[in-house]
Amino acid sequence: MEQHNDPRDPRGNVIDMQVIEGLRELGGDDEPGLLVEIVALFLADAPQRLGEIDRALASGDLRSLERAAHTLKSSSQNVGALGLASMCREMEELARKHELAPVRDVYEASRGHWSDVERALRSID
């Protein structure tokens, strides 16, 4: 069983700041609020997705599980939460392979990791 104790990048960050800078640059001069908007979207969306994963685990609904993990994966990547993204990928793949049992462990790890991600993102200005 793979370990998820340290989903940080090699420099110890839960968020890849290059991605954040990329978002800032994308907003440019005409949409300076884009970064904040995206982060806010993510902070509102991610807990819902985690909730969906939880419910899907409880009901054994592999399809919903795969889809929620997939969506959270891509939005995590968009805000540079790469550790969270890789956990989501693992859940997505397990669900696709119909291996429900190991997902629970990964899910628990991702829940624990989420508070770090949330704190890091809220500190971005």
């Binding site: 994308l26 995206i38 979207l41 969306d45 891509s74 939005s75 990547q77 968009n78 805000v79």
Partner: protein, 635 residues
């Protein structure tokens, strides 16, 4: 009542009649006491007809049964009535390949009739209606009334064909009744009665072209045959429509095919295969009977063309935009990804529409007709691939450049995406530079597509016109202007072809060299104009009395050549006798043999035989024999 009008037609002496063997078969079978052997003997006198009959007897598959090789076998298999009707049908076909009505396309008539015959038999086999071989002939002769009216009234019938109102069979029939007090359905029905075809078949011919008349039929057997004929006619139209005939109503054909498919209770794949088999069989029979056929558009192609035509007629064309600025529909159920994508696209200078799931996207696409759709693969309800498939089913939807967003781990599965009609994919989270590069690619394709469409519509037009020109030029190059028979050039080509075929197969090949006896005298006494008329008459007589497998060409001056493929000297002599009885001529007959270096020798022998005939007197057939006794046989 149209029966009286039919008597008038008959009195003209120009109604289609089965020639030679056909008429003998007809007479024999009209007696109550005829024997199967008698019928067999009559048919066997015509080798070509015998061959066709065996082919049709054997093409109805009977697992484990040895193929029919004699008329007796065929009779056992098909029944006396079917054999007789098949013999009748084929002899009619071979005797009425040309005619005098200037607007009547005789080739097309028999092409369509043959296609209807093949289709009718296939339906008959599938739905177990009637006797397949007999239904085949019913299909072949269902429209014989048109040929009959064109033969009896060539000029008036040409006027009807030229009439703008003559679009649908029913309006043609109305014009016919106006002009002749009888229409082609009534004529066909009475001809079939005269030829002794069973009542349900005759009555089916009377009503099959009009749904209104069809549903009023009370006899079940008649109704079944009429419906079968109507469906076979739809399939024949499909065969004749070919690939790019201008003015084809693809929507009508597609609708017709749906009706046929329903009746046959086949699924789409089965029906496609079934229609394909009909097209192939049509082409095979066409080769055997020397009736022109062509490549047939598949059911799928017809459906696609119909959808295209429908969309062209109804879908509002999206307003075209200045180059570089595209209308892009972005679809993702993930708000965040969607927002980022939208921002990227706006920054690249495009107009962006957004949708949060496949269903919404589809509705928007149909409303706004975007140039490009960028859709996430994984979405609830309708995912990206399903959205793409849905769009590709709509004619204009095929022009949309479809970009699929996939996760980095889904790359392995993109093959499935391409199979669904996706143009390209981008891995999420996307690199903005890659996204812009992919968009440029779509843009280029889009511009090229527009350019091609414009050019294609021009080219399509040119192709139709040029195709016609080429075919006309070919026809002119192979046709003798005065007699409208094939010319010497064509005859030489056939001879070369059959010569080689005969060397390979070991089958015999014979030729008839014909000297129009006494023509010179007409020319000398009455002048060239009169001579031309006589030549044309002789040519018409030869063409009318030649059978399938006997090909008549004008050789030059007052000489004609008949090439008898796969015929022995004896069989060629039978042909020569038949022609000589039709019009007085000197005929030299020769058969190829292994010792001849080229087919020139064969022609030389035939020439020598003509001299032999001339030496013996007028109006004769003379065979060139090569053996030691060298008996010159004259008749």
């Amino acid at each position: 009542m149209y029966r009286e009008s039919f008597e008038e037609l008959r009195a003209s002496g120009r109604l289609p009649t089965p020639p030679g063997v056909g008429v003998v078969v007809l007479k024999i079978t009209q007696r109550d006491d005829f024997s199967t052997e008698e019928l067999g003997r009559a048919i066997a006198a015509d080798p070509a007809l015998t061959g066709r009959l065996l082919q049709i007897a054997n093409s109805v598959s009977h697992a484990g049964v040895r193929p029919a090789t004699t008329i007796g076998d065929a009779t056992m298999r098909l029944g006396v009535r079917a054999v007789r009707n098949v013999a009748l049908g084929f002899s009619l076909l071979s005797a009425h390949r040309i005619g005098t009505c200037p607007r009547f396309d005789y080739d097309r008539f028999w092409s369509a009739s043959l296609a209807r015959a093949v289709a009718a038999r296939a339906i008959s086999e599938r739905l177990r209606i009637g006797i397949p071989a007999e239904v085949y002939i019913l299909g072949l002769l269902a429209d014989i009334g048109r040929l009959a009216l064109a033969s009896v009234h060539p000029k008036q019938y040409a006027d009807i064909l030229a009439d703008e109102r003559a679009r649908e069979p029913q309006s043609v029939a109305a014009l016919e009744r106006e002009a002749f007090d009888i229409d082609h359905n009534e004529t066909a029905s009475l001809l079939l009665e005269e030829w002794g075809l069973p009542r349900p078949l005759r009555e089916a011919v009377l009503v099959y072209e009009s749904e209104e008349r069809r549903v009023n039929v009370t006899c079940q057997e008649t109704a079944a045959h009429a419906k079968l004929l109507a469906h076979a006619t739809i399939l024949a139209e499909v065969c004749l429509a070919g690939e790019a005939t201008a003015g084809t109503s693809w929507t009508r054909l597609a609708a017709g095919l749906d009706v046929v498919r329903d009746a046959l209770a086949l699924d789409r794949a089965e029906f496609g295969a079934w229609c394909g088999a009909i097209a192939r069989e049509w082409s095979e029979w066409g080769q055997r009977l020397h009736v022109p056929t062509q490549r047939v558009a598949s059911v799928q192609e017809i459906r696609a063309r119909a959808e295209e035509a429908m969309a062209n007629a109804t879908a509002p064309r999206p307003q075209e935009q200045p180059s570089g600025r595209l209308r892009i529909l972005a679809v993702d159920d993930d708000h965040l990804s969607l927002r980022l994508l939208q921002r990227e696209l706006v920054r690249a200078g495009h107009d962006v529409l957004i949708a949060r799931d496949g269903g919404e996207a589809l509705a928007m696409a149909l409303e706004a007709w975007p140039h490009i759709v960028i859709a996430d693969w994984m979405m609830p309800e309708m995912d990206g691939i399903e959205l793409c498939r849905a769009l590709r089913k709509i004619p204009d939807g095929r022009n949309i450049y479809f970009l699929l967003l996939t996760g980095r781990d889904d790359e392995e599965r993109v093959i499935e995406a391409f199979d669904s009609g996706v143009d390209d994919y981008i891995v999420k989270p996307f690199n903005p530079r890659i996204l812009r590069a992919r968009l440029r690619c779509g843009e280029r394709l889009f511009q090229k597509r527009e350019h091609d469409e414009r050019r294609e519509s021009d080219e399509n037009h040119n192709r139709v016109v040029n195709g016609r020109k080429v075919r006309n030029a070919e026809r002119r190059a192979n046709t003798d202007e005065l007699t409208e028979l094939h010319n010497r050039r064509w005859a030489m080509e056939r001879l070369r072809e059959y010569w080689e075929e005969s060397l390979e197969s070991g089958e015999p090949l014979s030729v008839l060299m014909i000297d129009a006896d006494g023509f010179k005298k007409v020319n000398d006494v009455h002048g060239h104009d009169a001579g031309d008329v006589v030549l044309r008459e002789i040519a018409g007589t030869l063409a009318a009395h030649a059978r399938v497998g006997e090909e008549v060409a004008r050789w030059g001056g007052e000489e004609f050549l008949v090439v008898c493929r796969n015929a022995t000297l004896e069989q060629a002599m039978v042909c020569a006798e038949r022609l000589r009885l039709a019009t007085p001529m000197l005929i030299g007959v020769a058969q190829s043999d292994a010792s001849m270096p080229t087919f020139d020798t064969l022609l030389k022998h035939a020439d020598e035989a003509v001299y032999g005939a001339k030496a013996a007197g007028r109006n004769r057939v003379h065979a060139h024999t090569n053996n030691a006794q060298n008996k010159k046989r004259t008749a």
